[in-house]
């Protein structure tokens, strides 16, 4: 039995309705990781607002943090709704869950522009390379040549959402695998602490339509080809960083809220502050058919949407009528200027 978190809540306060997805669905692992991460972080549930579009992935916000408001909108348009809510109330912690159809096809434009605006949110793509809810069509993140359930190979080039996001101005871009619970949780925590657009492209196998031999998004394929970039550690702001590793082995990144993300080097040098380095690594991985996971890119100093718009510190929702209406005298002057 786990004890309560720093704000006195139990893990039960972070769960949602029972999942109605297929047994063994990768998405459910992500749901559990979100529950665990937010519980461990001690995020007040009422500060969270959950968003999604349409598809299997988009059902999942109902399955975590029931005590938070949620908004399940229309296909592909989750980022715009989340952006509007964030503008209205900058104190909200925004978590959006999307899928590969939702993000890389019908909603590609909105995905691009929310990354470009660096909206302060965690944007999760539960990426299974297939349209599950409409029974197994290829999505735009299916690798060329990857086979569907009937054995037909995908003839179209693949869209890599991480490459796009880095190019377009997202300030936190990571890829992970739903089977690597530890990594997913660390990334979720770091994304929470990051101020700006944090993309988590999580490969999440579809057990029903995309888990067969010949698929590059199956459990077996992902497990065999997963190459983590770093071993990630998350240290909350309240705790002192204590890293028991040799100097030079660990890179430490201070996040917006004072917490730290530690990146323990594995077998290669990787600099997540370099866009070009990230592009190079992703392209190399694609060529060698490996699934490169971990923190691909981060820029903790990049201005987020609220800062770009120079929004007042008081959330717009909290401004009273007297602060919003310019008043009778001002209107008199306006009338005068229009004569």
């Amino acid at each position: 039995m786990e004890s309560n978190n720093r704000i006195g809540l139990s893990k039960n306060d972070y769960v949602g309705k029972p999942s109605t997805l297929c047994k063994g669905c990768g998405h459910d692992s992500i749901t559990n990781a979100i529950t665990q991460a937010y519980f461990e972080l001690g995020v007040p549930p009422y500060e969270v607002a959950k968003f999604s579009g349409i598809g299997c992935s988009s059902k999942t916000p109902a399955y975590f943090i029931d005590r938070a408001h949620g908004f399940n909108g229309v296909h592909g348009r989750m980022p715009s709704v989340a952006t509007g809510a964030k503008l209205a109330n900058r104190r909200l912690t925004i978590i959006g869950v999307s899928g590969d159809g939702d993000t890389a096809s019908i909603g590609l434009g909105h995905f691009c522009h929310s990354a470009r605006r660096n909206v302060d949110m965690t944007y999760i793509i539960e990426n299974n390379g297939t349209y599950g809810l409409t029974k197994g069509q290829f999505s735009a993140t299916s690798d060329t040549g990857s086979k569907n359930k009937r054995g037909v190979p995908n003839i179209w080039p693949v869209i890599d959402c991480c490459v796009l996001a880095i190019e377009l101005g997202a300030s936190f871009v990571a890829r992970s695998f739903s089977g690597d619970r530890k990594q997913v949780i660390s990334l979720l925590k770091a994304a929470y602490s990051h101020k700006g657009f944090a993309l988590l492209d999580i490969i999440s196998p579809c057990v029903t339509f995309n888990n067969h031999d010949g698929s590059t998004k199956s459990y077996t394929f992902c497990k065999e080809h997963d190459v983590p970039l770093q071993e990630l550690g998350y240290v909350p702001a309240a705790e002192n960083i204590h890293v028991e590793m040799k100097e030079g082995e660990v890179r430490d990144i201070e996040l917006h809220d004072g917490s730290h993300l530690t990146l323990k080097k594995l077998d290669r040098e990787y600099d997540p502050s370099s866009k070009m380095g990230a592009f190079h690594a992703i392209e190399e991985a694609r060529k060698s058919h490996t699934l490169l996971t971990g923190l691909l890119y981060i820029n903790p100093l990049q201005k987020d949407l609220d800062s770009i718009l120079n929004l007042t510190d008081t959330p717009l929702i909290s401004l009273g009528e007297n602060e919003l209406v310019p008043g009778a005298e001002v209107l008199k002057k306006i009338n005068q200027s229009l004569k």
């Binding site: 309705k17 009422y46 959950k50 980022p79 952006t83 809510a85 503008l87 605006r117 229009l338």
Partner: protein, 596 residues
């Protein structure tokens, strides 16, 4: 010469787009306004930045009617491309000013009685040293010529020019120089040979010049709007742009930070998505667009209807279908907006007819959206939105915002349970909570899929229908809150006219003109129709519905919503893209009534 015609005639200025004509036309229009003359102006412009024909029409009338006459009395022909066509349209007694350096007329083209005033504009313009300014100032020369011949007050002209180019001394002096060139030439070379005269008046004392988009923008600010998301589209772009500049002026806090958010979105879908997200989170949010934008927003509009999220959409209507005539006016989106999105949907529409009403209705729209938790459309149009209107000063309202039914933390303490779609008050309007509410009972999961009273997913047919019936009742209940229609004319008459929006001005003038014909007139200001509209239809034997679209869109709604009176309705329709006029309505009406 026959008796003079004072303050009751029309001027048409024909220029090419992008030649500075807007500025010179405004100088003329504003000067007449400041001279206290009843004046109306409309800009008929192409979908183009430079080179295509543009016409600016000014009508002066003792009452200041805000619609144009079909005939022009004074024409100013600066554009050689349209000069011959424009000349063919004038009546025999008209006065014609023309750029004689570029335009030559044949004898056959001229009607007897036409008074010609030749202006050597190119020759005169040579005196303007700056070559760049020369093209832009040629049009000010015509203003000078008119000023000299018709005795437009020079002091007023100078004051208008000074106000127009505030802080730009060079521009002021260049314009004054061009004006002087026109005045000097006309005084020395032209002899007035027509009967048109301006006379100073007092009809504009409490009036302002304002376009509907500016009025909507100010209305939204006074209505407490804090989040605006929009995508550029003619004729609505200037609404968002004007709003941005006023917001920066009035809603910047002492630290220089913004108490508003305005985002130019990637498309109309994102615009309405942001508005709905913001509305759900509890602020007053809006977008401004035109017909093509509404088409794109349809799916989201259905979500806001079904999941009950407040949102305000201004539709500055232009000519459709498709890209249509992007810079011309129409009331062509009535049906599109009344039932936007798939499935059974019904929306609330407001029909402002003037800038003053745009200002008021924007404020009302935010109250309605919050009260009814739904999308409210403000149905402006290009004529209203982009033309400069002479209207009453904007009226400050002391009325407090109606934020509708929102449960905060304290109220949640007092309720036994919270269900987002529980009809607690039995008025079909439920209580909502906002994200960020720190209460264990507060959260709910909004969805566009089938939901029960607690917003849980359900596919139950009974629950689905129960919810849809409640939404229908809620829409009907809007009748209690929307602006009521306005009745005028002869109340006992059995012949009625119905109009809405900008069509009002033509119809109101017709009523003044045909006093001997017993007519009554109802100006509809909102959809759904209130009981007054039904009573009006019942009390008539015939009802002429005047509107600016092909299919009689409001008439169709009247036929559906007030059943049993279909045979009474006749349409009077003007939908070619130029604003409807009293001349047109009177002619069509008299044809129908057999009084012509």
């Amino acid at each position: 010469m026959s008796a003079p015609i004072i303050n009751d005639f029309s001027i048409r200025v024909a220029t090419a787009n992008g030649t500075g004509s807007q500025s010179s036309n405004t100088i003329l229009f504003k000067s007449l306004f400041r001279m206290g003359i009843g004046v109306c102006a409309k800009n008929l412009f192409p979908s183009n930045i430079q080179g295509l024909p543009t016409w600016f029409q000014i009508r002066v009338s003792p009452k200041g009617y805000q619609n144009l006459r079909e005939e022009d009395d004074i024409v100013v022909l600066m554009n050689p491309e349209t000069a011959h066509e424009d000349l063919a349209r004038v009546h025999a007694g008209a006065s014609v000013f023309y750029n004689a350096d570029l335009i030559r007329f044949n004898k056959e083209e001229l009607k007897s009685g036409t008074v010609l005033y030749a202006l050597p504009v190119e020759e005169l313009a040579k005196k303007i040293v700056d070559a760049k300014l020369r093209t832009l100032l040629k049009n000010v020369i015509y203003v000078g010529a008119l000023a000299a011949l018709y005795k437009i007050d020079k002091e007023t002209l100078v004051s208008v020019i000074q106000d127009q180019f505030k802080n730009k001394a060079a521009a002021v002096s260049a314009n004054l120089h061009a004006l002087e060139l026109g005045i000097e030439f006309a005084s020395e070379n032209l002899k007035k040979a027509d009967k048109y005269e301006f006379k100073k008046g007092t009809v504009n004392t409490d009036k302002i010049i304002i376009d509907g988009n500016t009025a909507c923008a100010l209305g939204a600010i006074y209505g407490g709007c804090t989040v605006v998301a929009w995508y550029p589209i003619t004729p609505s772009s200037s609404l968002a742009e004007t709003m941005e500049s006023y917001l920066a002026q009035f809603r910047t806090d002492s630290d220089g930070k913004a108490k508003y958010a305005i985002v130019q979105a990637e498309d109309e879908l994102a615009s309405i998505g942001m508005v709905i997200g913001a509305g759900w989170a509890g602020v007053r949010a809006m977008t401004a667009t035109s017909g093509p934008g509404i088409s794109l927003m349809n799916e989201f509009i259905g979500l806001a209807y079904y999941a009950e999220v407040p949102a305000v959409i201004v539709d500055v209507q232009r000519v459709g279908p498709s890209t249509g005539l992007p810079t011309r006016t129409q009331q062509g989106d009535i049906l599109e907006c009344a039932q936007a999105s798939h499935g059974d949907t019904k929306h609330v529409l407001l029909f402002p007819s003037s800038p003053g009403e745009s200002f008021e209705m924007m404020q009302a729209a935010f109250d309605l959206a919050d009260r009814l938790q739904t999308v409210v459309f403000v149905m402006s149009d290009l004529d209203l939105g982009m033309n400069s209107w002479v209207d009453q000063e904007l009226n400050y309202s002391e009325k407090k915002f109606d934020r509708g039914k929102v449960l905060g933390e304290k109220q949640l303490d007092q309720v036994k349970q919270f269900g987002r779609y529980l009809d607690v008050d039995k008025d079909s309007i439920c209580y909502r909570t906002l994200p960020g509410t720190n209460h264990i009972k507060g959260a709910y999961f909004l969805r566009g899929t089938g939901h029960d009273e607690f917003s849980r997913y359900t596919e139950s047919p009974e629950m689905f229908m129960k919810n849809m019936e409640r939404l229908l009742n809620k829409w009907h209940s809007a009748k209690r809150f929307v602006p009521e229609p306005i009745l005028s004319g002869q109340p006992k008459s059995k012949v009625g006219m119905i109009a809405y929006g900008t069509t009002h001005h033509a119809v109101a003038e017709v009523l003044d003109r045909v006093k001997s014909t017993p007519l009554k007139y109802l100006r509809v200001r909102a959809y759904p129709f209130t009981a007054d509209v039904e009573d009006f239809v019942r009390s008539c034997d015939r009802v002429f519905v005047v509107e600016q679209n092909r299919d009689g869109q409001l008439r169709q709604l009247l036929e559906i919503d007030i059943p049993g009176h279909q045979q009474k309705f006749r349409s009077i329709k003007c939908y070619g893209g130029f604003p409807i006029s009293a001349d047109f309505v009177q002619r069509e009406l008299e044809k129908e009534l057999g009084t012509r």
